[in-house]
Amino acid sequence: MLHGAPVTTFDLDIVPLRVPENAERLMALLTAHEVHIIEPMKRKLLPRSTDFLRHGQLNLSTDLGPLDVLCQLHDGRGYEELIDHTVAVEDGDLRVRILDLPTLIEVKASTGRAKDRLTVPILLALQEELAKQQA
């Protein structure tokens, strides 16, 4: 979406750097936003900072909306492997790093999930439009 694809999403996916200091920072931020784990029994379990150092994925609820913390993507890549395939997006004081468009397409096309596959044609079309603009 931040690349310019007109798609709607209900959650935000992040891939955090898996070191203890960053996990603590993330946990402190999420604690201030009423975080709990989304799970079938709806028990409002709290994550622990050490959860962010593992290999899995956490589906969280916060007062700002749903947040998926992906310690690793489905293909095993984590922050260290992905950082070189990101671009910085800036808008005023906001500065975030997001997957570059080719990597995002690669990831969405390979998850095996229908909802990700549906976005791939839109991302491919966006890539074509951006290439035309740069030509």
Binding site: M1, L2, G4, A5, P6, V7, T8, T9, F10, V89, E90, D91, G92, L94, L101, P102, T103, I105, E106, A109, R117, V120, P121, I122, L124, A125, L126, Q127, E128, E129, L130, A131, K132, Q134, A135
Partner: protein
């Protein structure tokens, strides 16, 4: 239109594994893409959030109450 080496490699991988996705890209509404591209990242985020909230307001109606 020219793609970077990396872009071309990803497109070629998709062409080999799932060519329907490339064909479907031709059907994407380019006017909507152009509109989205005209927005700043924050505006894109706000538009997507507004859309998500608007969709969330709709609820399923049981067939008997139609």
């Amino acid at each position: 239109m020219e793609f970077t080496e990396r872009e071309a490699a990803v497109r070629e991988a998709i062409r080999r594994t799932d060519p329907e996705l490339l064909a479907a890209a031709d059907e994407v509404d380019r006017a909507t893409l152009a509109y989205s591209a005209s927005l700043t990242p924050l505006e894109r985020l706000r538009a997507a959030t507004d859309n998500a909230h608007a969709l969330a307001r709709f609820s399923r109606v049981p067939p008997t109450s139609r």
